[in-house]
Symmetry: D2
Amino acid sequence: MLNIALIGAGRIGHVHAKTIAAHPQATLALVCDPFGDAAEKLASQYGTRSCKDAEDVFADPEVDAVVIGSPTPLHIPHLLAAAKAGKAVLCEKPIALDMKDVVAAQTELDAITTPVMFGFNRRFDPSFAAVRSAVNEGRIGDLEQLTIISRDPAAPPVEYIKVSGGIFRDMTIHDFDTARFFLGDIVEVHAVGQNLDPAIKETGDYDAAVVTLRATSGAVATIINNRHCASGYDQRLEASGRGGALFAENVRATTVRLSNAEVTDAQEPYLDFFLERYADAYRIELSAFIEAVEADTPTPTTIDDAVEALRLAEAATKAART
Amino acid sequence: MLNIALIGAGRIGHVHAKTIAAHPQATLALVCDPFGDAAEKLASQYGTRSCKDAEDVFADPEVDAVVIGSPTPLHIPHLLAAAKAGKAVLCEKPIALDMKDVVAAQTELDAITTPVMFGFNRRFDPSFAAVRSAVNEGRIGDLEQLTIISRDPAAPPVEYIKVSGGIFRDMTIHDFDTARFFLGDIVEVHAVGQNLDPAIKETGDYDAAVVTLRATSGAVATIINNRHCASGYDQRLEASGRGGALFAENVRATTVRLSNAEVTDAQEPYLDFFLERYADAYRIELSAFIEAVEADTPTPTTIDDAVEALRLAEAATKAART
Amino acid sequence: MLNIALIGAGRIGHVHAKTIAAHPQATLALVCDPFGDAAEKLASQYGTRSCKDAEDVFADPEVDAVVIGSPTPLHIPHLLAAAKAGKAVLCEKPIALDMKDVVAAQTELDAITTPVMFGFNRRFDPSFAAVRSAVNEGRIGDLEQLTIISRDPAAPPVEYIKVSGGIFRDMTIHDFDTARFFLGDIVEVHAVGQNLDPAIKETGDYDAAVVTLRATSGAVATIINNRHCASGYDQRLEASGRGGALFAENVRATTVRLSNAEVTDAQEPYLDFFLERYADAYRIELSAFIEAVEADTPTPTTIDDAVEALRLAEAATKAART
Amino acid sequence: MLNIALIGAGRIGHVHAKTIAAHPQATLALVCDPFGDAAEKLASQYGTRSCKDAEDVFADPEVDAVVIGSPTPLHIPHLLAAAKAGKAVLCEKPIALDMKDVVAAQTELDAITTPVMFGFNRRFDPSFAAVRSAVNEGRIGDLEQLTIISRDPAAPPVEYIKVSGGIFRDMTIHDFDTARFFLGDIVEVHAVGQNLDPAIKETGDYDAAVVTLRATSGAVATIINNRHCASGYDQRLEASGRGGALFAENVRATTVRLSNAEVTDAQEPYLDFFLERYADAYRIELSAFIEAVEADTPTPTTIDDAVEALRLAEAATKAART
C-alpha cells in the first residue's frame, strides 16, 4: 500500500485523485493546493487530509510518493523537492517550457536514486500500447512509417495559448513522445505550422501543424495536429511496417451505429477530451508507477523522455519558423 | 461464342441484354418481346435483331441459347419450348407460382438433356459466393447458424403484390435458395408474417416476415424479410460455425465515410435495388451459364433448385397462416 | 450513503462487491456466504465485515439494502426475508426456475412497499440502453424488427446444464428481457432448439436455439443463441424501424486493427464473458438501484419483469419440444 | 459515337481498349503499336483494325480521337502530332520527365484548340471524386488538412526505377495531382525520402517518402508514399475541415468479414493494383473525355495540370535532397 500525496487540485488533479483513491494498492494520503479551499474540497471527497503548502507534503513522513499536478512552472521545483525528500514522484508534463531548466533538473536528478516518472499518459493507452507491443513482437515486420493524428476538440482560450510555449511544446509534445515510444531516437525534424484561426495567429502561435520526424532506424513519423476537430478528440495512429500495419482508432462511449435514409453505420462522435479519452491510460499509468516503486524497478518513463520530447518541440518550433 | 436470344425486354431484360452484349464469349443474337416496340428498341441499342413472337426465337437456327425474362406465367411454356427446340436455357425466377405446374415441368425436363439453368442470381454475388466457398473450405468449421437479412428499399405497388403469390413466393424465394445454397436440404419450416403496412394487409399478404429453417445437418437458418428499408436494399448474411463466422455486408457505391459534430465514420445508403446491388451477380451468373453450356457440364442451378425453393415458400405460407 | 450488504461471495458476488465498494454513494457494509471462508476473504479485501448466516444480514440495523447473489434456489427466500426486514433489495436473476414459486413471491411482494429490483443487467449496458433511448426518441420511426445475437464463448459444464432449467431459462432469459425492454408485451413465441454438442444433447437440453417473438405492437423479435462462439462473448442487437436502424456491436478491449497479407482491418476477439462485457452495465445497474432507493422512486426493473421473462422461457421450452 | 484510336498495346493499353470497346458512345477504331503483333492481337480481341506506325493513326480520317498509352518519352511527340492532325487527345501521365520538354509542349498546345486531356485517373475514382464534391458543397466547412496515403503493393523492377525519373516523378506525381485537385495552387513543398530497400537505394532513388504541401489557402496536404504494402494497393485519403472530415477508404473485391478465435471482422486484402483499383476511374475518365469532346466543353484536366504536377515533383526531388 503506497501513501500518495497529490499536489494540484485542478482538472488533472481531480483525475489523479480519483485514480489514486480507486487503486487497490494506493491510498490518497494528502491533497495540496494553495488556492482557496480547492485542496480541502477535493480531499474531503475522498475522506483524506489537505494542506496549502507543498512543503508540508515533502515533510510529511507518512507520504511515500507524490503525484505532481501543479502548474507547469512549479513542476521542476516540486519534483526536485519531493525527490530530495525521498518521495517517489510521478510528475505531469510538460516538465517545463525552457530547455535550460530541464537540463539542469536532469543533472540534479542524476544524483538522486528515488524513482521519478513523467506522465506521458498516452504510452499507457490500451490501444496505443497494444499496437506498440504488437510492433515489438514483430507482427508487422520492420516499422517503416508511423502516422499520428492528434486533434483537440477545441482550442484553449487565447490567454492560455499566449503562455503555453507554443503548439509544439504544449500540444505536439505528447505526439513527440508517442513517436519516440515507437521509433526511439529521432535525427531529423521538419515542421509546417498553420494559421487557420486569426485569433490564435495574433498570439504568434499556430493552431495546426504537420511535423515529420526521421528516426535513426530510417523510419519516418508524421504528426498531424489541429487545435480543433468537429467530431471530438481525434486521437489515432497507424504503424506501417514491411509485413503489415496496425491501427489504433478513436474511442467512443458506445458501439452504437445508426442507419437511416441519409447515413449508414454512422457512429457517435469521439470521446470529447483527454479526461475521458485517456481515463484508462491515467489508471494504467498510475499502476505502472506504483509497480515500479514497490518492486524497485526502473519507471517506464524518466526525465530523459521529458528532455527528448522538449528537444523535439524546440526543433519543430525552429523548423516551422524558417 | 454463344449466340443468345433474350425473351422479355422489361427491366430485367435490359440487365440481361447489357450483360450478354458485354460478355466476351456471347453475342446478343435476338431480342423478343410482344409489346409495342420494346424488343426493337432494346435490340437497336445493341445493334442486333428483334422479333415479337417467341416462336421465332425457338425456330431460329442461329440461336444457341435463350435467356428467359418474360412474365412469370410464361416461364414454363417458354423454357419447355426452348429446351425442346434444343436451345440451352437460362430462366429467370420464380419459375411459377403453382407447385403443380413446376412439378409437371420438372418431369418434362427430366426427359430433355439440353442445359436448363435457373436465375438464382444471389448465388453468384461475389460476397455471398466467397462466404460459401470459405465455409466449404472449412474456414469456420461446421456451419451451425445462418442469418439472412433481406429487405427491399420499398414495397412494390399493391397491384403487383396482389398477383405476386405472396411474400414467401415473391420475395423470400431468393432467401430460401440462399439457405439451400449454404445448408442443403431443409427439413423444418417456421414462419411469422407481419402486417406493418395496412395497404398490403388488405391484399391478404404480409409485408415483413421471419422464417426459421432447420437443415438435415442440424444447422438452422433464420431469414428476416421486410418490404421496406430506409437505407436502401439491405442484403446481408452471417454464417456462424463452430470455429468462427463469416459476414457478407451491404454494398455501397463508394467507400466514403463522413464525420462531423453529429456522426462519425458514417457511410452512404446501400445500393438502392437489385439491378445495382446484383449487377456483378448477373454478370457472373451469365458466365457460369455460358461456361456450363460450352463445356457441356452441369449448370450450377437446375429446376430442382426452383422446385425446392418453391416448396419452402409453400411451407412458409402455410406455417405463417396457422 | 447507502449501506449495502452482499449475500453470496461467488463469481457474481465479487463483481457486486467491487462495484459497491467503488460507488461514491454506497458502502459495502457486510458480506455473507455460508461456505468456508468465502465471505471473510471477500470482506477483508474491502475492509468490511462478514457473516455466514443470511439471518444476520436481515437483522442488522446498519444494513439499508441487500444485493442478493446467492444460488438461484435461495433467491426467493432471501429476497422475501430481506424485503420483510425492510431492506431494499437488488436480486440476481433468474429469480427461480419454477413459475409457481415466482408467482407466489410476486403475490407476497405486492403487499410489501420496500424497493425490490431484479438484476437484468443488459438493460444497463451503455450501447443497448443508448439504442433503446434512440428508439424511444423516434430516431428510427416505428420499431418493426429486433434481432438479438447472443452467444456464450463456451458452454458451462454438463453438470451445471443438468440443473440449469434448460437453455431458455438459463441463457435466453436475458434475451427475453431485452426483447421486452424494447418491445413490451409479447403475444406469441416460436422456438427451434438445436443439438450441436452431443454431450449437452444427452442432458436433454439444447445448446443453440432460435426464438421468434411477436409483440402486441406487431413488431417481431428474433433471438439467436448459441452456447459456443469462437470469437468470444457475442452480444449484439439490431433494432430496425420504419425510418432506420440502430446497431449495438460487440465490445473489445482495444480499438486496434491489423492489416497484413492475409487480413485487413482485423479486430481482436470480443471481450470474453459477462464479467468483462457487462462490467459497465453492473456499475450502472447499481447506480440505478441506489438512485431509486434514495429518491424513493420505482426501481427500473421489478418482479413483474422477472415473471414475464420466465413465462417466455417456459413458452419457448414448450414450443421447442413440439 | 466517337471513333477512338489507341496508341500503345501494353498493360495500360489493354485497360483503355476494354474501356473504349465497352463505352456506349465510343468505338475502338484502330489499335497502334510498333512492337511485334501486339497491336494486331489486341485489335482482333475487339474485332477492329490495327497498325504499327503512329503516323497512320494521325492520318486516318476516320479517327476522331486518340488515346495515348505509349511509353513516356513518346507522349509529347504523339500528343502534339495528334492534336495538330485535329484529333482530340487523351494522354496517359506522366507527360514527360523533363520540365523543359513539357513547357515547350504547353506553349505549342496553347496555339491549338483541339481538346487535349491528361489521364489523371484518380480524379475520376468514385470515392475520391465523391469526397471532393462533398468538400466543394461545404459538407465539412473550410478544408484545413488533407492526408493522402498511397502505397504500391510491391516495387517495380530496379531496371524500371533507374529510368523512372525518381519516386516523386513516377509515383507521387499522382498524389501531387490529387493534392491540387483538392487544394488548388501549392506554394510550399517539403519532402523526406526514405531508403528502406537497399536495392533501390543503389539506384539513387527512394522507395518511400513523406511530402508536405502548403496551399495558397493555408491548407496543408500530407502525402505518405511507399513502394511496398503487404495488404495490397493502399489508396486512401482524409479531407479534414472546420466542420468535419471525409474519408475515402481502400477498395476490396468483396464485403466479406471473417471472425474466428484470433481475429474478428477481418476483411480481405485491398485490390492488388491500379488496373483493378481504378477500373471504374478509367471508365469514368473516358466518359468525361468523350463528353467534353462531344459537347465541346473544356476537358476536366489539361496540360496545365500535367505541368503543375511535374513542377511539384521537381520541387520535392530537390527538397528531399537537401
